[in-house]
Symmetry: D2
Subunit: 136 residues, 4 copies
């Protein structure tokens, strides 16, 4: 029932078409945690050479879902209920990494925190919180 990083990545790519568009990769999963990334790619860049806000939001959302799948196994009907993102700095021209943690797994809602990290020094470029509604 437990899923590994490759299984989680495949489930999300099958379920969320935009995950394919941003080339969403899952590096690590464990109970309540996922580390994922968007490989740097020119077609996602906005003027100034940084990954756009929507790419960052898509990565954050998918990485929360990855952390939940890693915790619960297949819950394909989980849907995002709320997502709040604060953009702190421009990402570097580099892979964008997400570290998602489940802070509270309730019966009806899973609440997560995501840090978006950029560059070889993994500087914090955006902070995200969000909740997923879980199936009954």
């Amino acid at each position: 029932m437990t899923l590994n990083a490759i299984e989680v990545e495949m489930l999300i790519r099958e379920g969320v078409p935009m995950a394919v568009d941003i080339d969403f990769r899952v590096d690590v999963v464990r109970d309540g945690f996922a580390r994922a990334r968007v490989p740097f790619a020119s077609h996602l860049v906005r003027p100034g050479g940084t990954l756009s806000g929507p790419v960052q939001m898509a990565l954050a959302d998918a990485s929360m879902y990855a952390a939940i799948l890693a915790s619960l196994g297949r819950v394909e009907m989980a849907v995002t209920s709320n997502l709040n993102i604060n953009f702190l700095q421009k990402p570097a021209a580099a892979d964008l990494v997400a570290e998602a943690v489940v802070l509270r797994m309730g019966r009806r809602l899973a609440f997560c925190e995501v840090r978006l990290l950029s560059g070889s020094d993994e500087k914090l470029v955006a902070h995200v919180t969000g909740s997923y509604a879980l199936p009954a």
Copy 2:
């Protein structure tokens, strides 16, 4: 200096690659307001036949930007500072419309509200607030 709907749409499509991916369209702009849409397209759909969360977030972000461009003219360096989205219902298998309003145009921040509407009855499917940092 004032921009019309087509000019706003072109500026955003040039500046945000994901706006092209979701086929972002601007229908109406006026000072402090924009009405925009994502035409329904199968490649954006997630299982169950609805537009995914990341598509909704990308539309909301771009429509806020459209309302700001409509108010200020070309401000290409405006960047999203915060975006908070609540997903209320599944969108229908139809175009997704965004109505974005600038609630407060400060010197440094523009604060906006966006309603995402779906189907011929334009039911409210998501509610978004957000702020853009304005260039000095």
Copy 3:
């Protein structure tokens, strides 16, 4: 089963001690809506003569609850799940009014929007969204 403004005000004052501290008043309720206020009082003021952020948050939270009680009748175990507030301008040295609307009444969550209005011209000083978890 339907509650009027006075009954809603009493229920909230009994249930939330801070509602008494801010002298929370309910002016109008109807299905999905409440209009409430904090009378201007010197002991709530911060330097510069305006009502503090915590007073604004307490008013917003209580007015959401009022709109939910007005919709559902007595649901004393409803609890706030999320509250997001954007402070837009300093309130005037005057009563602070809240208009709360239920945008989506789900089975498990009620999602609300609140506008905080200040002064005789009722200028928008803060915008709030929030959700309440409803009892099963």
Copy 4:
């Protein structure tokens, strides 16, 4: 110019009347960090014996301010711009502790994260993010 915990506590109590109402205490400050608390007191409790949402929001807001004062020294005109709180569990009948961290100190905005912890096991009861607008 650097302020200690007692100085920060006094500045906030002078500036925000509600900080006095909740008996706001600052235990520890250092650059970019503050640990503060609301001592458990019966007049703040809501039915069920827990500290109300508005008390939690007031504590979170004041502890962010404490972390900013600890970083910058006296900046009395800093004002909250955005606050987003997720309530995760009921607090215990015990002191409520806040740990506030400045995640990004920009020139115009300070962005903070706060964890509200309750009981002798310091379980996470609420998660807060927020930004303060800094004087020019």
